[in-house]
Each structure stands twice: as C-alpha cells, then as structure tokens.
C-alpha cells in the first residue's frame, strides 16, 4: 500500500477513535457563543433547528437510548459522512481543473 494511503487510514482511525470513544465524555456546558447569547439575553431569539427531527439530531442516534453510546455512534456516522462528502467535493473540484486543462 502507498505510504500516503497508510497515513490517511491511520488518521481516519484516530478521528474515529476520538469521535466514538472520547466525544461522549466532552463538556456539555454551553459554548462561547451560547454563553454570550445567554448573558446578553439574545438566546431567546434562537429558533428550533429545521432538522431537529433528524434521526441524528443533537449528536444522538434515534433508537439508541444510552446517551454515551448514541453520541459515539453519531460521531462515527459524522466522521464517515464528512470523509465521504469531502472526497466527493474535492474530486469535483479537481475534475473542474482537468476540464479547464482540456479547454485551454
């Protein structure tokens, strides 16, 4: 296997490990923006998310009752979907270059 492929696989393994096994133990305190919004009183303006009913809303997975397991599963799904979508996006970006090479 090429060295770069090994590097990418190793990096993905680290990402999956962090998303699955570490993220369930992350702080659940409000983040910087949420805290400022509460302190300044504009948190009330937030509307429910359009995808609040999504099966993976709020980094849980529908049907998984255990919150920590659900968060880890959501993390795994998120890393996989992000990797796939990014690969697809960059393939499209590069395809455009190859097209423009032909025309110029």
């Amino acid at each position: 296997m090429k060295r770069t492929s090994i590097f990418v696989l190793a990096g993905l393994a680290v990402a999956v490990a962090l998303a699955v096994f570490v993220s369930p133990f992350a702080s659940s305190e409000p983040d910087g923006l949420e805290k400022v919004a509460r302190d300044q009183g504009f948190d009330v303006a937030a509307r429910d998310h359009d995808l609040a009913g999504s099966p993976v809303a709020d980094y849980g997975v529908e049907g998984i009752r255990n919150e920590k397991v659900g968060t880890g599963a959501a993390g795994l799904i998120g890393v996989a979907v992000t990797f796939g979508l990014a690969l697809g996006t960059f393939a499209a970006v590069r395809a455009r270059r190859d097209r423009s090479k032909v025309t110029t």
Binding site: G32, H49, A52, G78
Partner: protein
C-alpha cells in the same frame, strides 16, 4: 460558535450566504490548481478529523466550554483554499446533526471557513515570514494563527450581529463579550492545532502545506541499484 437560526435576520444571513458562495467559488478555483492526486484524500481526512475534534468540547471557564474550529489546522495542513472547502463540508454535515442553523449556514461558513481558515492562514503566513525557517518557527506561527482565527471569527459574528442582530444590543457589548470568551477558547484552539500539526510534521513533514519551505532542495545523486 455555530450560529442557530434566529440570531441574525434573514437579509443579513442571505447577504453572508452570497459572500460565502463567492468566497468558496474562488477557493475551489485555487484549490483545483493546488491539489494533486495525493492531496485530495488528505483534504478528506482533514475534514473528517476536524468533524471528530469539533465534538470534543473542553471547559474554559465557569459554565462555558469551547471546541476546536480547525480553520488554521486545515489551512496549515492542506492550504487556505482547500481549508475553506473542508470547513464548508464539516459545517454542512453538522447541520444534519441540527448543529448550526440552515439559514445561518452561510454565516457559519463565512466565520469559521473563510475568516477562520483563509484569514487565519494570512496570520500564519505573516508570522511565519518573520520567524526562523524551522519546525519550531512553523509551530509558533501556527499557534499565533490558531488563537487569532478564533478571535477573528468571534469578532466577525459580533459585526454580523451589529448589522442584523434580532435583539437590539450595541456592537461594543457583543464584541467585548464574544472576544473576551473566545480569547480563552483560542488558547485551546492553539494547543490542539499545534499538537496535531507537530504530530504530522514528525511523521510526514512532506504532507504539511505550511511547512513546504522547510523541504530540502532536490539534489542530484548517482542512481542506486535495486532501490
């Protein structure tokens, strides 16, 4: 830092969306020129890694947490143009998890991808230019840029809020509060970004976009047999 629906009015959100689309268009054009066969999977890995680490909220002060944004991490690893695209992909996926409002997607990509990633890289390149051309120099520039990117992104939110905030507040109030807390969160951003970049520098320095100038110049040697 993910803006939900409702904080910023529709007109400002749409305006930010237009700026973001234009910015991503430029980034895609430039990234297409820079990316080779090897770089595309690395950019994918960078996006996936940032998604994972963004889930890891760390406590910063009483009742507040922060998490990596990753704009400078991506920019130092794969370049500022690919970084903006990486962050856009991460933010789109996060919206599926109901994190960051759909109407605020343009604002969020603008703040974290364009201001945080491309703006952060500008800080990185500026600081790197005045430091010694060593790994330590690259890491120091990375730390300064990572911290700055979080503060810049938080200031960008405050400006957007001043333009289209739905609850009337002065710019000074919002920018003071945002920059204050994000100056702390930025320390975490700098630490995580430096740890990650130094790990990649230790294993595959040739893959770090922001350290290309450290690569030894090619030299001619007699061919080795059976290599």
């Amino acid at each position: 830092m993910h803006i939900p629906d409702g904080f910023i009015d529709a007109a400002t959100s749409a305006g930010a969306g237009a700026v973001t689309v234009a910015g991503l268009g430029v980034a895609a054009k430039r990234a297409a020129v820079e990316l080779d066969d090897r770089a595309a999977p690395l950019a994918g890995l960078t996006a996936a890694f940032i998604f994972a680490v963004q889930m890891l909220n760390f406590p910063v002060a009483a009742g507040t947490s922060g998490h990596l944004i990753g704009g400078v991490l991506a920019a130092v690893l794969v370049g500022p143009w690919a970084a903006a695209i990486c962050l856009a992909v991460v933010l789109v996926v996060q919206a599926l998890f109901a994190d960051g409002g759909l109407s605020a997607l343009g604002l969020n990509i603008l703040n974290m991808g364009l201001v945080g990633g491309m703006g952060g890289y500008l800080v990185f390149a500026t600081v790197r230019a005045v430091l010694p051309k060593t790994r330590a120099g690259v890491l120091a520039a990375t730390a300064v840029a990572a911290w700055s990117s979080v503060v810049l992104a938080s200031a960008a939110f405050a400006l957007e809020y001043a333009i289209g905030g739905t609850v009337d507040l002065s710019l000074r109030q919002v920018i003071g509060a945002m920059v204050g807390v994000h100056a702390l969160i930025g320390i975490g951003e700098a630490v995580i970004t430096c740890l990650t970049v130094s790990a990649v520098l230790a294993s595959r320095p040739d893959l770090v976009y922001g350290a290309r100038h450290l690569a030894p110049t090619l030299e001619l040697r007699p061919a080795e047999l059976a290599s």
